[in-house]
């Protein structure tokens, strides 16, 4: 019988666990959700057809982004919030962790699997958009660099959000984890406004709070590219690299915290 070296076992285990997450998502037909996306897209295109052609293009781009964002977020919540708690509750985790696998490896495998499913969903949603353009359903709307960039940044955004949700699902009940993560996600989208309001106050405490929040919560507004999609602003390679590093740093931070919390968890 041939066994792999410990390093190869760890890497192999990440891939096996990730594959299991993807297999579960496919067999449970979670990705059918993107069919609803296609339907929403068609309804939207129909809804804006009465506007002038130039406005139509802008509206289609803007609404497409909003619809992709919504379904991406919904999918992230659906595939992430039960990943760890369900393994613990059903005790399937016993058969994994009684093997030479660290808890960190387990979580990394889960996260990789979630990202693959999300990547797959983004690709399918992008594909549906391409198909609609090809069929002439979305008049004047073209899939260009901005659209691809927007989808890429959405994926980065959902990577950090999924890791945050995974962390919270380890330390809190499922409903609470979902609510808290959505709260933080929402805060991440209004943090510019909040930052400006709190920093402008006379208090010395509020600016400090903003500083701390900036360290532990991503400013998701930075990763939003609707303006890029609508007004054709495009990020250069350097900006893409910086924003990628920014988003990944939060993903890594949440993963480290999740690992720490999971190590302490009594199974």
């Amino acid at each position: 019988m041939t066994r792999s070296s410990p390093g190869a076992v760890a890497l192999g285990a990440v891939l096996v666990i990730a594959r299991n997450v993807v297999r579960e998502a496919l067999r449970r037909r979670i990705l059918y959700l993107v069919l609803l996306f296609a339907l929403a897209l068609l309804v939207m295109v129909e809804g804006v057809s009465r506007f002038e052609a130039q406005i139509q293009v802008k509206m289609v781009r803007d609404f497409s982004y909003t619809i992709v964002s919504f379904f991406g977020l919904l999918l992230t919540v659906l595939i992430t919030f039960e990943q760890v708690p369900l393994e613990v509750d059903s005790k399937t985790i016993y058969m994994i962790l009684c093997r030479p696998i660290t808890r960190q490896t387990f979580l990394m495998g889960k996260l990789l699997g979630i990202l693959i499913v999300l990547g797959l969903a983004m690709t399918i949603m992008g594909g549906i958009m391409v198909a609609m353009v090809g069929l002439g359903v979305t008049k004047g709307f073209v899939i260009d660099g901005q659209v691809v960039q927007a989808l890429y940044f959405l994926l980065l955004k959902y990577a950090s959000f999924a890791t945050l949700l995974m962390l919270l699902s380890i330390v809190a009940s499922r409903p609470l984890a979902v609510m808290l993560s959505l709260l933080i996600y929402s805060f991440g989208h209004v943090s510019d406004f909040l930052r400006a309001s709190l920093t402008a106050s006379d208090s010395v405490v509020f600016p400090k709070i903003v500083e701390i929040l900036d360290l532990i919560m991503p400013n998701y507004v930075l990763l939003d590219v609707p303006s890029g999609m609508v007004y054709s602003a495009v990020f250069n390679l350097q900006s893409v690299a910086i924003l990628t590093a920014y988003a990944l740093s939060f993903t890594v931070l949440y993963l480290v915290l999740a690992t720490w919390a999971f190590e302490l968890k009594e199974l």
């Binding site: 019988m1 066994r3 579960e24 067999r27 962790l97």
Partner: protein, 274 residues
């Protein structure tokens, strides 16, 4: 069964040193009815299992058996004490490369087939494709699940799932097998399979450590037993010595518990059911 021993230089398969686990639980009383109290679930337990030995871990429900097993597997951390697997700290993941474990209520991914389940778990044990292709049919034959390779595990009966649980524990050909209540939910056929399997494992020089309530089975296949009661290890001894004089292990077990804890004493003669 004879007590198997190997070279004295070989470290024990399992060493449990003064293991203690306490939990803080919410109770009644206090301003908000949440005054915490400390419960000792496992209390200063020590056991040493020699390589090649079949050891039965006995106790009533809630005695601390599963908690002890969980600490052995690194699933929960002890409040005090240490566990070694073949001389290595049990909390290091690599120490688990020589063990196999089947939990009491074996749970599987219901969307996977039998083969996919064993392949997935085998890969997590570091086995390559060739090894798995060779091992899986043999293991399925051992637990009488031949022909069920492509059946989804959710369609299995409880007993079949239990047998699959035993099969997955042997995937990596481990030297120490740990079973938590392995015969719970098994019909007489399944129990026979398990007992034959343990005998074969012992023949092959493997060590088996399992908790059970099925005392006739334990009497049949174990070299030694340890009894845990209210978290404390109250007896460790050779089965053949405990059943001397025509006693069954069950009679000895109930007598022992009655001696240490009058609340579980059975007054057989006075009991009337009709």
């Amino acid at each position: 069964m004879e007590n198997a021993t190997r070279s004295s230089s070989e470290p024990p398969a399992l060493t449990i040193e003064r293991l203690t686990k306490t939990y803080s639980k919410g109770g009644h009383g206090g301003l908000f009815g949440r005054r915490r109290r400390t419960i000792t679930v496992v209390d200063d337990v020590s056991i040493e299992i020699r390589p090649g030995e079949v050891f039965g871990f006995l106790g009533l429900n809630g005695a601390g058996k599963t908690t002890t097993l969980k600490m052995v597997l690194g699933l929960i951390r002890p409040t005090a004490g240490r566990v070694f697997l073949f001389g290595h700290d049990a909390f290091r993941p690599e120490s688990r490369s020589r063990i196999g474990f089947a939990p009491e209520r074996t749970a599987f991914y219901d969307y996977l087939t039998t083969r996919e389940t064993l392949e997935t778990l085998g890969r997590l044990s570091g086995l390559d494709r060739e090894s798995l292709a060779e091992r899986i049919p043999r293991l399925l034959a051992t637990v009488a699940l031949v022909g069920e390779e492509n059946t989804q595990v959710k369609d299995f009966s409880k007993g079949m799932q239990q047998r699959l649980g035993i099969a997955q524990s042997m995937l990596a050909d481990p030297d120490l097998l740990i079973f938590d209540e392995p015969t719970t939910g098994l019909d007489p056929f399944g129990r026979r399979i398990f007992k034959d399997l343990v005998r074969d494992l012992k023949q092959a020089g493997k060590t088996v450590f399992f908790s059970s309530h099925q005392l006739p089975d334990v009497q049949e296949i174990c070299d030694r037993v340890g009894v845990i009661h209210r978290g404390k290890m109250i007896h460790v001894g050779l089965v053949r010595e405990l059943i001397q004089g025509g006693n069954t292990l069950e009679e000895w077990f109930m007598r022992l518990l009655g001696e240490v804890d009058p609340s579980v004493k059975i007054q057989g003669q006075e009991r009337r059911f009709v």
